[in-house]
Amino acid sequence: MTPAIRVQQVTKRYGALQALGGVDLEVARGEFFGLLGPNGAGKTTLISALAGLVRASSGRLEVMGHDVVADYRAARRGLGVVPQELVFDPFFTVRETLDLQSGYFGIRDNGGWIDEILDELDLTAKANVNMRALSGGMKRRVLVAQALVHRPPVIVLDEPTAGVDVELRQGLWQFVRRLNRDGHTIVLTTHYLEEAESLCGRIAMLKAGRVVALDTTANLLARSSAHALRLRLGAGSVLPDELAPRVLSSEGGSLSLRFDRFDEIGAMLDRLRAAGVAIDDMEIGKPDLEQVFVDVMRTA
């Protein structure tokens, strides 16, 4: 079976800037796939190339086996994209927006599915409201609805929860999980790594336009043996210099120290005691995707 998405040796150059430097990856049908990377890593450029919004300088991209350039009609029918920016057409109501989007995909009598999406996204009461009158969160929901209006087998969500409240975020993930269970392939980019960790079965990490890690989420987490010793230090306490290389994060009086084996903890605490550091609170954290991400970006 052809994969939902196939990206082969894709490069994209903007003048002197190499936005994508030979990306290769495949996303199987039905996967929940994460595309992670720092700002400027090329995530949005890759999604845009997949959606036909930018043209790759070289290489080949396919959606459901259809080349996005040579067979663009079939490729675009197979893809629904929720863009990162909060864009809308101020001339139309929510329902008009969705009716028009259905028409662009040549779909007749789509009212039933549109009603269902509106209901799922809690937009029914806003169906006849002009887009301008909606809050940011509501506009974000309409963008999701627009991406789904033609029932695409592949759905790409480009940072869909950026700047949205917890309630919408949870509702959105519930809906997207259901779509994935129903067989839709989901590709997600997000800066919220805990979301990617809990949702995605497989993850690709991009840095400077290249894939620097590509594996199942479980394997990526297993790749890092690093645990964190999280401490809240007493007032006036200063961390000894020899423990400074272990610092993962530091905020106010709280800090996280990295360790690989549990028998390292004793020595670390001894060193803190010897330096006269008072510890108000302490806990041990498991490796998480954020740590894996930091490690991958540091070493790649």
């Binding site: 919004l53 930018v54 043209r55 920016e85 864009v87 028009l100 028409g103 662009y104």
Partner: protein, 253 residues
């Protein structure tokens, strides 16, 4: 609600201007009628262009055509620049629309607006200006071709411009001079030889002259010449626009 990508985009573009019809249709009709009122009042007694045609009658086809052309240009250019600046152009770039469908939908919707404004000006003048309709086919041909040319030019300007002031520059420094210096308010025979020569390189002059021939059977140049020039302009600009769209110039990075 139409189905099919092309029909939907055409419908959306028409709905877009119709929703603000007071600004996009009624206002330009009123502006043209005010031009007619002022110019005919001020000049009717002083200017005689054709022996058998009053100045006010002479003025009407020119004003109809000028408003038609300006509004066809305004529709495509403003729609595209707004969509680009606000980012909602993505909604018509993501669906399986071909560049030809994109072109045809934008141009036809702009022609519709131009024709509605032109029709509005014509209806507004019916009760106080006497017009002949010597060759209706010429009237229709030049109205359609002129509208299509300016609509295509609007697509080019809308795609090219990155900011509203660039588009305003295009409109104020190219479209306005071309339409105002095209014989709307006068016959070019009343101009000095140099300006007559300049007028002959202005394609809008041929649109208006050919359009006016349809009403009065009189024109500054043969309508066949005008048709050939206007037709060539249409082919040239359409080809250029289609090439830009096919290459995704400023639309598909």
């Amino acid at each position: 609600m139409p189905t099919g990508a092309f029909a939907t985009l055409l419908y959306k573009e028409a709905l877009r201007f119709w929703k603000v019809g007071f600004q996009t249709v009624a206002a330009p009709v009123l502006t043209s009628l005010l031009y007619l009122l002022i110019f005919s009042h001020a000049l009717a007694a002083h200017v005689r262009v054709y022996d058998s045609v009053s100045y006010t009658s002479f003025l009407v086809p020119g004003l109809i055509m000028m408003s038609l052309l300006q509004n066809a240009f305004a529709n495509t250019s403003s729609s595209l620049i707004q969509s680009k600046v606000t980012g909602n152009i993505i909604f018509v770039l993501l669906p399986p629309l071909s560049y030809r469908e994109f072109f045809a939908a934008y141009v036809l919707a702009a022609m519709l607006r131009g024709l509605m404004v032109g029709l509005g000006v014509w209806l507004g003048t019916l009760w106080f200006v006497e017009l002949n309709y010597a060759h209706p086919l010429w009237i229709v041909s030049f109205a359609l071709l002129g509208g299509a040319i300016l609509a295509a030019l609007g697509v080019i300007a809308g795609i090219w411009a990155d900011k509203f002031d660039q588009l305003a520059g295009f409109q104020n420094f190219i479209i306005m001079p071309l339409t105002f210096l095209s014989g709307v308010f006068y016959s070019i025979h009343s101009l000095p030889a140099f300006w007559q020569g300049v007028s002959h390189v202005n394609p809008v002059f041929y649109m208006i002259d050919g359009f006016r021939f349809g009403f009065f059977g009189l024109s500054d140049v043969s309508p066949w010449i005008s048709l050939a020039i206007v037709g060539s302009c249409f082919i040239l600009l359409s080809t250029l626009t289609l090439l830009m769209l096919a290459r995704g110039y400023k639309l598909r990075g």
